[in-house]
Symmetry: C2
Subunit: 130 residues, 2 copies
């Protein structure tokens, strides 16, 4: 899955505090037809349809290490997404077939800065500060 | 910079709460000699030598979108790292030469789960819960 398959990064207009799910995973040796890409796209679309979803950022390098950070309004929204049956099944298959290891962290976003080359500013702009 | 140039992901033995700096950036069109790779390696080594540094996870896809999450003991440690002169100069050059846009978030890690295929567990293991 490439980042371009996913919704754009979380909107800079959404102000902290909110929550991040930081998922860092090492893929098994990928084969073109192992189903991972299709599952990842499906999960991205399913997540984006959940209550409290704010956005996602995702990247995976050629070495198979990937990071996906999804953003949510509340811990309750994260729990509800975790309990979605199709998501639970995808996690089970991930542990069986797609991942060697992963780290999963839940974090409360307290500050967010945004910078764009077209903005003409030298410094990143605080979206909001708690 | 590939993830393998970096220290291993933050140790699962470090218990929350601690802090994450989530940096998601879109590179300009990279050229082999634009200095980015050397800077990134230098910054990773310099960060790892700072007080309160706990670890890093980093990935960049072929489309130039990259995510680096560094972990720190406290907000004060993050502020001190931000103030390191060589780091400030690298950020300035990043905005001038290397990035189209980026999002930077500071977040408090409240929970951390770890899973490894060799562990023989179906579920990720909570490293600690607040």
């Amino acid at each position: 899955m490439s980042a371009t398959d996913l919704p754009p990064p979380a909107s800079p207009s959404i102000q902290p505090p909110y929550y991040a799910v930081i998922f860092c995973s090492q893929r098994t040796d990928a084969t073109p037809d192992d189903g991972y890409g299709a599952m990842a796209e499906r999960m991205a679309a399913l997540a984006a349809a959940q209550p409290g979803y704010l956005g996602v950022e995702s990247a995976r390098g050629a070495d198979g290490l990937g990071i996906t950070v999804s953003y949510w309004r509340s811990l309750e929204d994260i729990r509800a997404w975790r309990a979605v049956t199709e998501h639970t099944a995808a996690r089970d298959q991930g542990r069986r077939d797609w991942y060697r290891h992963y780290e999963l962290r839940i974090a409360k976003v307290e500050r967010h800065y945004h910078w764009d080359e077209s903005a003409g500013t030298d410094d990143p702009v605080p979206v909001a500060q708690r």
